[in-house]
C-alpha cells in the first residue's frame, strides 16, 4: 500500500510482527512501519471483530491499537520503533496479562 521514497536514507531497524522479521527505519512509528511492511496487519475490533487499519496516524482515532513488547492496546502511531521490538496484531479485546 505504501513504499519508501528514495529520499529515505535512515538506518534500518529490525523488528518482529507475530514472530516474522520486518525492516523498519529509525524514526518510524510502529504503525507506519507496519503499513510499510506490506504484511496483513489488520486488527480486529474489540466490539464486533471488524477488521481495521490505522486511520488518523496522529493519536486520536485508536484504530492503530497493537500489542508492543507484550503490552496490549498501545497506540502504534505514537510509539517509535526500536531494534528487536516484538509486535503482535490484536484480534478482539485485549488479552489478560497483555
Amino acid at each position: 500500500m505504501f513504499k519508501r521514497s528514495d529520499q529515505d536514507n535512515r538506518p534500518a531497524v529490525k523488528m518482529f510482527v507475530d514472530g516474522a522479521a520486518i525492516a523498519a527505519r529509525e524514526g518510524d512509528s510502529v504503525a507506519a512501519a507496519l503499513l510499510a511492511s506490506g504484511r496483513d496487519i489488520r486488527r480486529a475490533t474489540a466490539v464486533s471483530g471488524a477488521p481495521r487499519l490505522p486511520y488518523c496516524m496522529m493519536g486520536v482515532c485508536f484504530d492503530c491499537l497493537v500489542t508492543i513488547d507484550g503490552v496490549g492496546n498501545r497506540q502504534g502511531c505514537l510509539v517509535p520503533v526500536t531494534e528487536g521490538m516484538q509486535i503482535e496484531i490484536q484480534k478482539g479485546k485485549r488479552e489478560i496479562g497483555k
Binding site: S5, Q7, A32, A36, R42, A50, C56, G59, F62, P80
Partner: protein, 472 residues
C-alpha cells in the same frame, strides 16, 4: 530532552508544540518566564510541521517552503531556555491550572500560573459508507507518514474531499514518486458562488497564488473529478473500490487506498474537560472556545492559541501564539513586556495571516451529505454505532449527546468522541430540528487520553481520599 518536568510549578505551561505552541513558549521563555512545553509527539512541529527536526525528506522542494518555515521556530524555542518534553500526554487540566502529565508510563503533576493551550486541530470526521474499512485513511495520516517516514502510496489510490490540505498532500505525494489514481473533489458547486463576496481577501492573500500553482501541478498529472457526491468506500473486510456520483452518473474506481479530507476542526477535548466555554461556529461548523482578543478563555489563567482557538492555519497560529504569550508576560512580568514585539504589530500580522480564511471557509464548507450520514453508515468508530442507531435513540427520547451515550454508548470508547462528536451533534440537531448549539456536545472529563490503572493509582492521595473509597 527530559522525560519528566524538572520542577513542580512554572510560570507558563504550553500544551502542544505546533506553530502556536512553539511561538508562545519561545516568547514567554525569552521574556524570562519559566516555561514548560508539553507535547505528545516524538518531536516538535505539531501536524503541519510534523517531523520538522527528523524528516528523511531532505530535498527542500518536496515538502515546500511553508513546511521548512517551522525549523526556524523550533530553533527559536530551543534557544529560548524553555523546558521541552516530548512524548508527554496531558491527561488532565483543571480550573486551578493543575496539569496531569503522562510520560514513559508514569504520571506527574505540575502547577502553572498561566496555561496556553495549543492543542491544534484534528481532521473533521468524514463519515461515508465504508469509512471504517482497512485502506481508508485520512489525508493527514498519509501526510504524517510522508513527512515522518518518507512513505508514499504505491497501490491504486484515490484522494477524496476538499480543501487546501488535499491539494498540498497530492502535490507532495507526486513529488516523492507516489501513486494517485484519481482525485474526487467534493466541493459543492454552489459554494463557489457563496464564496464570491470573500474573493477579494483571498486573491490578495498568500493562499491564492500558492494554491493555484499547486492545483495546476497536481492536475497536470492526476485525473480530477469535480462535483462529486454520494461517495462510498466499498469492499469486504478491505477497501476494494470507491464509488461516487458525478454529473448524474454513478462511477466506481478500483482502489486499495482512499484518503479522505474535508478540512480540520479544533481539538477541543482538553479545553472542554477543563470547563472552558465553547460555542458552535456556524461558518466553520465546529465547536470553538469563547475567547477574548488575547486568546483568554472563560477559565481564568488559561488561554488558547492556534487552530484550537478556531481554524486559521499555521501563520495565524504563530501570530495567536505570540499574542497569547504576550498576554501572559504582561501579567506575570510586566517589565519584560516592553522588549516584546509591540501589540499593534502582532495584531497587524494576525490580520494579514487571517486574510483569505473566510473565502476558504465558505468555499470548502463540507456538504451536509458528508457531515450528516444516514442508514448503516458508522458514526462512532469505537463503539460501532450507526446513523440509524442514533436516529432510533432520538425517536425514543435521546435529546443530546450525553443522553445518547446512555442509549447507545456513542463516544464512550477510547477516542472519547473525537471521531464522532461533531457528527453526533449535527445528526441529532437535524433529527430534532434544533441548532447544534441547542443540542450541545459530550460532557468531557479527565483522563482525556487513556492512562494505565497503575499510573492512576500512583497519583498522590491523602488518608481522607482513601477513606472515601474503602468500604466496611
Amino acid at each position: 530532552m527530559t522525560t519528566m518536568p524538572k520542577r513542580d510549578s512554572y510560570d507558563v505551561v504550553v500544551i502542544g508544540a505546533g506553530p502556536a505552541g512553539l511561538a508562545a513558549a519561545a516568547t514567554t521563555a525569552e521574556a524570562g518566564l519559566s516555561t514548560l512545553v508539553l507535547d505528545e509527539n516524538v518531536g516538535p512541529g505539531g501536524q503541519v510541521w510534523r517531523a520538522i527536526t527528523s524528516t528523511p525528506v531532505v530535498a527542500r522542494d518536496r515538502l515546500g517552503a511553508d513546511y521548512w518555515a517551522g525549523a526556524e521556530l523550533v530553533q527559536e524555542l530551543r534557544a529560548s531556555g524553555a523546558e521541552i518534553i516530548q512524548q508527554a500526554t496531558v491527561w488532565s487540566l483543571d480550573r486551578h491550572l493543575e496539569i496531569a502529565i503522562s510520560a514513559g508510563g508514569a504520571s506527574a503533576f505540575v502547577k502553572a500560573r498561566r496555561v496556553i493551550l495549543a492543542t491544534g486541530a484534528l481532521e473533521r470526521p468524514f463519515p461515508i459508507p465504508g469509512w471504517t474499512l482497512p485502506g481508508v485513511m485520512t489525508a493527514g495520516a498519509a501526510q504524517t507518514m510522508l513527512k515522518s517516514s518518507a512513505l508514499v502510496p504505491d497501490a491504486p489510490t484515490v484522494i477524496a474531499g476538499q480543501g487546501p490540505l488535499l491539494w498540498l498532500l497530492a502535490a507532495q505525494i507526486l513529488r516523492l514518486g507516489g501513486r494517485i489514481d484519481c482525485i474526487l473533489d467534493t466541493t459543492e458547486r454552489r459554494n463557489y458562488l457563496a464564496a464570491l463576496p470573500h474573493a477579494l481577501g483571498f486573491v490578495t492573500s498568500p493562499y491564492f497564488t500558492k494554491g493555484l500553482a499547486m492545483m495546476r501541478e497536481v492536475k497536470a498529472k492526476v485525473r480530477v473529478v469535480s462535483g462529486v457526491s454520494e461517495l462510498a468506500a466499498l469492499g469486504d473486510s478491505q477497501l476494494a473500490s470507491v464509488s461516487y456520483v458525478s454529473r448524474g452518473r454513478r462511477e466506481t474506481i478500483p482502489a486499495e487506498l482512499l484518503l479522505l479530507h474535508q478540512g480540520v476542526v479544533p481539538n477541543v477535548n482538553l479545553a472542554m474537560s477543563a470547563g472552558i466555554e465553547h460555542r458552535w461556529d456556524d461558518r466553520q461548523l465546529c465547536w470553538s472556545p469563547v475567547l477574548d482578543p488575547d486568546g483568554n478563555t472563560s477559565v481564568a489563567g488559561i488561554a488558547i492559541a492556534g487552530d484550537g482557538a478556531g481554524i486559521g492555519g499555521a501563520s495565524v497560529a504563530v501570530a495567536r501564539g505570540r499574542i497569547a504569550a504576550r498576554g501572559a508576560v504582561e501579567v506575570l512580568a510586566p517589565d519584560a513586556a516592553a522588549a516584546l514585539t509591540a501589540e499593534n504589530v502582532l495584531r497587524t500580522t494576525l490580520a494579514q495571516a487571517e486574510r483569505g480564511r473566510a473565502f476558504l471557509d465558505v468555499l470548502f464548507r463540507p456538504a451536509p451529505q458528508f457531515r450528516i450520514p444516514s442508514g448503516d453508515t458508522v458514526v462512532c468508530r469505537c463503539e460501532e454505532v450507526t446513523a440509524k442507531d442514533i436516529l432510533d435513540a432520538v425517536a425514543i427520547g435521546a435529546t443530546g449527546p450525553n443522553q445518547l451515550k446512555a442509549y447507545r454508548r456513542t463516544g464512550m470508547g477510547p477516542c472519547q468522541g473525537r471521531l464522532c462528536g461533531l457528527t453526533v451533534t449535527e445528526l441529532m440537531a437535524q433529527a430534532r430540528g434544533k441548532s447544534p448549539e441547542e443540542i450541545g456536545y459530550y460532557r468531557l472529563r479527565a483522563p482525556v487520553k487513556p492512562i494505565t490503572l497503575a499510573e492512576l493509582a500512583s497519583v498522590p492521595k491523602t488518608e481522607a481520599d482513601v477513606k472515601a473509597v474503602a468500604r466496611q
